[in-house]
């Protein structure tokens, strides 16, 4: 007993050692927690707190000045490559055949090459295709036409409900949809991570049994673009924006989808063929090309890195990579700028060669069909020709409507256009057979389509009247929209 009494010192030593270890572990834990907490401050150290759906890009600009400043550069109109640029260009004026191809559809009135995202709202208001709605109930377009134009859209969808948003008329939301495509379209305000804000893409994924939330960061760098840069249509009377991907994303798979539901965007005014208007299947076509197949995202080439002083920033000036070969192509391809551009132009030139042939023959098919109708051809006789015209036009539009298809997937685009040429010529042969059977021997007279004005008057459009009406509408209605939006603080006043 005596020895044990003299030994409590061992107990004290062990107690103090363990106490010291626990104390140091506590310090270490606190230090790690503190460094982990810094991540939160990376997001939290912002000048303004953004909550909910903030459509005003200027507000985001306070927190992210570099991204915002580069985004503002989408207003530039200073670039033109061999074939396209960032300027508004009247395509119908340079390619009057397109007027005839879209006869009976608003595209025959007005079709321009797109400018940067900054002009999304302005150009949407200004095009003749949106008409001159005089009241919130007036057409011709549904609010669905706003879907891709503004971060105000998710805000309104939340307010009205998705279905009701689409059911509303375009003119009814004129003073609500006012900020051009910007921050909130792709970014989560809390984490700045990429988000999908448009229901159509999510729904298309769901119908294919895929969960878009499982997409990787790299995939998201394309999917945020795919919210808009895809083929779509307005389904049913509710004009519900729908992507026709249920059977797949190839041109044939989408055509099968449309055929099955007997869908057509319009009946052609000359040939009476039920036409599907291809929108801009950019995402689909890009994924069929070698860059897409190797996992290169849209942002890799259209939003490359940029250095400002010691800061690196993803360039939010979305534009043609040809404007910035050094930061785009050359980050992977070790070749001269002149060579790289030439490779692109070679592909474009060759495909556009086929496109020019298609447009000539497809127009001829429409005009021949019109001639056959005028000379008493019956619906039964015309049936197979009209089907061929529908197929030819879908293929042509699919190949040319996309921005940059001839570079994104040259082989696929050339294949599609060659099928269009084939179907156009088959349609002509078929119509010729009908013409012969109803006793017409002479050649079908072709109209003079050398200018936009001639083509438009051939299909019966009175352009001066339409243009004057629109001009007056832009001067009277749009300022009221803008004023209301400013008063209600939907727009940042300057």
């Amino acid at each position: 007993m005596a020895t044990r009494k003299r030994k409590p010192v061992w107990g004290w030593i062990l107690f103090i050692v363990v106490l010291g270890v626990v104390f140091c572990l506590g310090l270490l834990a606190a230090s790690i927690t503190q460094r982990r907490a810094e991540i939160a401050t990376l997001y939290a150290n912002k000048k303004v707190d953004i909550n909910g759906i903030e459509a005003r890009n200027e507000i985001w600009g306070e927190n992210y000045p570099r991204e915002y400043e580069t985004w503002k550069e989408t207003a530039k109109m200073d670039f033109r490559s061999k074939h396209m640029g960032n300027q508004e260009e009247d395509i119908l004026a340079s390619r009057p055949n397109m007027v005839v191809l879209w006869a009976g559809y608003l595209f025959s009135q007005d079709y321009k090459a797109p400018r940067g995202h900054m002009y999304a709202i302005e150009d949407n208001r200004n095009t003749l295709r949106t008409g001159t709605p005089s009241s919130p109930q007036d057409g011709p377009q549904p609010a669905t036409c706003w879907t891709c134009k503004s971060p105000d859209v998710p805000r309104m969808m939340k307010e009205l409900g998705v279905e009701n948003f689409y059911k509303t008329k375009w003119g009814a939301l004129g003073n609500q949809i006012v900020n051009p495509i910007g921050c909130a379209d792709c970014h989560d305000p809390k984490t700045m991570g990429l988000v999908i804000t448009r229901p159509a893409l999510v729904e298309a994924f769901q119908r294919q049994g895929k969960d878009i939330r499982q997409a990787s960061t790299q995939e998201m760098r394309s999917l945020v673009c795919a919210q808009c840069h895809v083929e779509y249509y307005f389904k049913g009377d509710g004009k519900y924006l729908t992507l026709p991907w249920d059977k797949g994303m190839s041109m044939e798979a989408m055509e099968e989808y449309y055929d099955e539901s007997n869908f057509s965007d319009f009946t052609h005014a000359l040939s009476k063929a039920p036409i599907i208007k291809a929108q801009h299947p950019d995402y689909e076509i890009a994924s069929m090309g070698i860059h897409g197949q190797k996992g290169v995202s849209c942002a890799d080439c259209h939003m490359p890195y940029k250095t400002e002083g010691a800061i690196k920033v993803s360039d939010h000036h979305l534009m043609s990579p040809l404007q910035n070969v050094a930061n785009t192509c050359q980050t992977c391809h070790r070749d001269s700028e002149a060579n790289l551009k030439q490779y692109v132009y070679d592909r474009q030139d060759k495909i556009l060669e086929t496109r020019d042939r298609v447009e000539k023959e497809l127009v001829k098919a429409h005009v021949m069909a019109k001639y056959a109708w005028e000379h008493g051809a019956t619906e039964n006789q015309m049936k197979s020709s009209l089907k061929l015209i529908r197929q030819a036009q879908w293929r042509w539009d699919f190949g040319v409507a996309s921005h940059g298809a001839s570079f994104h997937a040259p082989v696929e685009t050339q294949r599609i256009l060659s099928h269009s040429l084939d179907k156009s010529l088959l349609a002509q042969i078929e119509i010729q057979r009908v013409l012969t059977s109803i006793g017409i021997k002479e050649e079908v007279p072709m109209p003079d389509l050398s200018t936009k004005a001639k083509a438009q008057s051939y299909i019966g459009l009175d352009m001066p009247v339409l243009e004057a009406k629109k001009k007056n509408w832009i001067e009277t209605v749009v300022p009221v929209w803008v004023k209301t939006a400013r008063d209600k603080k939907r727009l940042v006043s300057k």
Partner: protein, 201 residues
């Protein structure tokens, strides 16, 4: 065991208590530092430390971003043991520097790292570097002796670009680790906050 026998009975309980507190803290350290993630090759593990953000982002945007991960270049691949040994050594060094807030403004590889990196360049690009050019026939030791150049002396921007200070991409979107607070706890505290706010209003 003799020491344990010497511990007076009245100390057994407090010592046990302290040891279990210590074990709890170690478990917490494992959790908060996401220790298990370091066993994988996933580059997400490397941005556990947020100062790695610019390096993650520059890699992700580069041509290497689609075919490599951090470990492909930054740890040896001659055998599993040296891979994990190197990784552990590097990792503990990183962890220590980061925890003590001693990181430099521009992070450069350690001496041993250079050799590993160059060996890995050669490992993947051996075809190109032996049949077309002779650069793969030397190793890093040769370059130190002045017999040839290291890969990055010409390929200066591969893959992290020249601009690599730790503040170079303040708003980069990278998979930073989510909050360590579990969702249910977050919801609970948010509800609490709401209640308090309502009271004030």
């Amino acid at each position: 065991m003799t020491i344990l026998k010497k511990i007076p009975k009245k100390f057994v309980f407090p010592i046990f208590l302290l040891i279990s507190v210590g074990c709890g803290l170690i478990a917490y350290l494992f959790y908060i530092s996401r220790a298990t993630s370091y066993l994988s090759d996933d580059p997400k593990a490397c941005v556990n430390c947020h100062i790695m953000t610019p390096y993650y982002q520059s890699w992700q945007h580069s041509s290497h971003g689609r075919v490599t991960n951090c470990n492909d270049c930054h740890v040896p691949h001659n055998n599993v043991i040296s891979k994990y040994a190197f990784k552990a050594k590097d990792g503990l060094y990183h962890a220590a520097v980061f925890t003590l807030d001693m990181q430099p403004q521009v992070i450069r590889p350690r001496k041993e790292s250079y050799e590993v990196i160059m060996n890995n360049c050669i490992r993947c690009h051996s075809d190109l570097n032996t049949s077309m050019v002779n650069t793969g026939k030397i190793n890093y030791t040769h370059t130190l002796a002045g017999d040839g150049k290291a890969c990055w002396e010409c390929h200066t921007e591969v893959p992290h670009t020249k601009n690599i200070n730790i503040n170079s991409s303040p708003s980069a979107i990278v998979p930073l680790p989510p909050s360590p607070v579990p969702d249910w706890l977050m919801r609970l505290t948010e509800k609490q906050k709401e209640k308090e706010n309502n009271k004030i209003n």
